[in-house]
Every structure is written in C-alpha cells, then in structure tokens.
C-alpha cells in the first residue's frame, strides 16, 4: 500500500535513499488531544513507515509505524516474542537482564511452546461461545446501570461501569471468586505500573500465593470454569498459575480501558454519539472503529531471529522492533481521514488486537462486552455528559495499556 502514494496525495513517498538518523520513541501526546498518537510518531510514519530507533539502553533497533509493514512483521514467525531477547523502549534497565517468560506466560513465547498453551485456551474463547455469553453481559450491564441510577446523577464511570463489567465476566469464566478481584486488580496494577521494585516483588509474590491456593482448590474441587477444565490438561501447577495470571490480568485491564476511554471519545464526538444512540445496530461496527481509533494496547515488541529483509530494509538478527499499532491504525494509506472517529467506516482490518499467532485470545469476549455495554449506557442515560472539563480527565501514563484513570460523568434525573 505504501508504494502507491498516488492513492492518497497527503502521504509523501518514503524516501529510502535518505538514511535518517535513529530517533527515540515518542510517547507524549499533545495537550488537548488525548485520543491521538504523539505527533512525532505519526510524522515518522508519514516520512518512513520503518525506521531506525535508538533505545534508552543504547540498542539501535527499529520503529515500525505503517499499517502494511506492522501487519507483515506481526504475521512473520521469524520475529520473536521472547522476552529475554528484548530491549525496553521506555527505560534503561541497566545490567538487569530481562527474564524469560514464566511457565504459562505464553504471550512472551514462540512456537512450539506458545501454541501448546494457546490451543488449550482458544476453544474456550471462540466466537460462538462468547456470543452465548451475550445475555449474561446484558444482565451484568443492566445491574450496573441500575446501581448508577440509584446513586444519583453523577459517578466515576470507570469504577461504576467500565471496570466491574469485564472483571465479573473474566472472573466467572476463569472461576475466580469475584470478591477476590479487588486485591488481585490492585496487585496487578502494582506489578505493571509501580516504579518501586520491592513493591512489585511483593505484589508478584502475593498473586502467586493467591493463584497457587486457587489452583489447588480447583484440583480438589473442580467447578464449571476454565481453570478447573485446565486442571485436566497436562499443565503443571506452575503453568496453570502462569496461564491464570496472564488471562486474568489481560481480562481485567483491557476492555475496562476501552469502555472508559471509549465513552470519553464518544462524549467528545457528539455527532458520533448521537449516531450510535439512535441506531444501536451500529454497535458492532462502532466497536471496531473505537478499537482502531483508540488502539489502547501499544506498542508491541518483536526481535528478529535472523536477518530479514522487509519493506526494502535489512533487519539484522537480534535487532528489536517496536511495532506501533496506534500509528498503524491511523495510517492514511489504509484509512482515509484516519484521525476522524467515524462509526460508519469499515474499520475491520485494524491491528488493535495485534496480528499473527499472538492475535488477542480474548478479542471475541471483548467484542461482546463492548457491543453490549456502549449502547446500553447511552440508551439508559440520554443526557450523559462529562462532569469536568475534558482537559481535567486524568489519563493513564502506563506504557502498555492506555486509558482514563477515572471519568467523572453526570446526567439529568428523568
């Protein structure tokens, strides 16, 4: 797509002759543009969809920002996900070595190890099975909307709505008692967000202890859930704990951010909000567009296992590539007027769930949750609006999963 600049005159042809200096990864979004990728990032994409990147530890790797090159890299098994081979694009971790994936942490493994875990789980997250959960999602959503109505005319939408709905769903699916989720969520947040290594270790140990006891309970008294089913596979306790941790953490911290940030985006685009409210059948398509527009999980890391030529450049074995899904999903070569939220566009083909062998395992669950929750919220509260000026909505700084920390909203009593 990039070699046909005539398709979109706004995109300058990449000048491959010009060997530009390595850049550093832009992470700061412009003030007042909470939904847009950092301006330098999209500028780099428009100049050169694949370019050299300097990591904080001095490693010279690559930054991929164009849709077609990002998709190609994610699809190619010669680009590894192994954690111990990575360089951190956000900070210099000094002499500390990145540990290899813990048992069960298949997100950071390659084939064949990755596939062994993935196939044990994929059958539990199929399109058909997730659709069967629609009614349950509707019920959980209605319960939370009822509670919001009872609470008055203002809430923090993150704690009243965005967080609990996906949390209940993933806890029920996995078989985690719901009352345990708060401490789990807190500890997971410490592991992912804290700068304090001791706190991180303490939280990690606590989660391990909790999951150890949970897995033991499922072995002795299996219940009707995924974790119990997995005790019948050949996975060891250690592996079950790793799988449980990965799936629970992914389930608690992803859709929640889409619901929070997505509502913020809709409230900031009144015409789009009105379109969805007047036509709830738009929900499926709207969810794809919100996924594209917000691309909350970013960036991805891959490392070349051998010398690989791609997009006219030679990536050498051992070089790390930062794959910027958010830049790719705003690529004008793929989407006309990419920076416009347009719920009527065909956004499918976006990379918000990744691509290739690691493409999101929970995507069909996330789709059902969002296509139920967004329209239900808008229909229940026709006057829903922000309770603070948009620039006061606190944004998450967490590199990894973007979102709002809280979303103060209000509405008129009927």
């Amino acid at each position: 797509m990039h070699d046909d600049p005539s398709a979109n005159p706004a995109v300058p042809a990449p000048d491959l002759a010009q060997h530009s200096e390595p850049v550093t990864l832009p992470t700061d979004r412009r003030k007042g543009c909470p939904f847009d990728p950092p301006a330098e990032l999209t500028q780099y994409r428009d100049e050169q969809p694949l370019r050299r990147l300097r990591f904080p530890d001095g490693h010279i790797g690559w930054l991929a920002t164009g849709h077609s090159v990002c998709r190609a890299i994610m699809a190619d098994a010669r680009f590894s996900s192994r954690k111990e081979l990575m360089h951190d694009p956000h900070m210099d971790i000094g002499d500390m070595e990145m540990p290899p994936a813990a048992p069960g942490e298949f997100l950071h493994m390659d084939e064949p190890q990755h596939g062994r875990y993935r196939k044990l789980l994929a059958g539990k997250f199929t399109v058909r099975r997730m659709r069967l959960l629609t009614e349950r999602v509707e019920q959980v959503t209605a319960d939370h909307l009822d509670a919001m109505e009872k609470a008055g005319t203002a809430v923090d939408l993150v704690s009243a709505f965005a967080k609990p709905i996906p949390a209940i769903m993933i806890c029920e699916l996995l078989g985690v008692p719901y009352q345990d989720r708060n401490s789990f969520q807190e500890q997971a947040a410490t592991i992912f967000n804290s700068d304090n290594l001791d706190d991180k270790m303490a939280a990690y140990t606590a989660i391990q202890a909790y999951l150890t006891q949970l897995v033991a309970a499922k072995r002795t008294e299996p219940t009707d859930d995924i974790l119990s089913d997995l005790t019948e596979s050949d996975l060891t306790d250690e592996e079950l704990i790793g799988v449980g941790f990965l799936v629970l953490a992914a389930g608690l911290d992803t859709t929640a951010n889409m619901l929070g940030l997505g509502t913020f985006a809709l409230l900031s685009n009144p015409d789009q909000l009105a379109a969805l409210r007047s036509d709830p059948s738009l929900a499926g398509q709207a969810v794809e567009e919100l996924l594209r527009y917000l691309t909350i999980a970013d960036p991805m890391l891959r490392v070349a296992l051998e010398d690989i030529e791609i997009d006219g450049r030679l990536i050498k074995a051992g070089e790390v590539i930062v794959v910027s899904l958010q830049a790719a999903n705003r690529d004008p070569a793929k989407y006309p007027e990419p920076d416009r939220l347009d719920l009527h566009r065909k956004a499918i083909g976006h990379l918000a769930f990744g691509h290739g062998a690691h493409q999101c395992l929970g995507q069909q669950l996330a789709r059902v949750e969002m296509s139920v929750a967004f329209p239900a919220l808008l229909t229940r509260f026709p006057t829903l609006r922000l309770a603070v000026p948009p620039e006061e909505v606190p944004l998450r700084a967490n590199p990894g999963i973007y979102g709002v920390q809280s979303l103060p909203v209000t509405w008129d009593k009927e």
Binding site: L120, T126, I348, A357, H358, Q359
Partner: protein, 76 residues
Amino acid sequence: MAVTLTITVDRDRCVGAGMCALTAPEVFDQDDEEGRVVVLDTEPAPAHQAAARHAAGLCPAAAITVTATDTTTHQQ
C-alpha cells in the same frame, strides 16, 4: 460469469482467533476443543463469497486459501 470459490484451510496454522467465524459465519466456525477453524461450506454460494474472501484476508495466521474457478458454461 459464474465463479465457484473453493475454500481450503490449514488447521495446523490456525491460531483460533476467530476472525473467520466473525466475518463469514455462514462459511466458517471454530471447534470447541482448540478453537480451530471448521469450514461449514467449502463452496460458498455467491451471497457469501465476498465475506469468505474477506475472512481469508483478515486471518492473522494466513490459514485460509480461497481459489476461484470460472465455471461459466456455454448456453445450449
């Protein structure tokens, strides 16, 4: 012109992401054990051909192959 589409899948490559069952539910499903693709209709009717092609393009594992044959027969 009548075109017959023939769908073949490489189940070993499939990672069970479900893009196919989402995009062309009349043509693809997933099994309950490993979530891998199941072809419901190896020669989809014209109404489902566009969706089947689209699904093949979206599959994250390039596990779906669509072959088109022109089956136009001369009118007697």
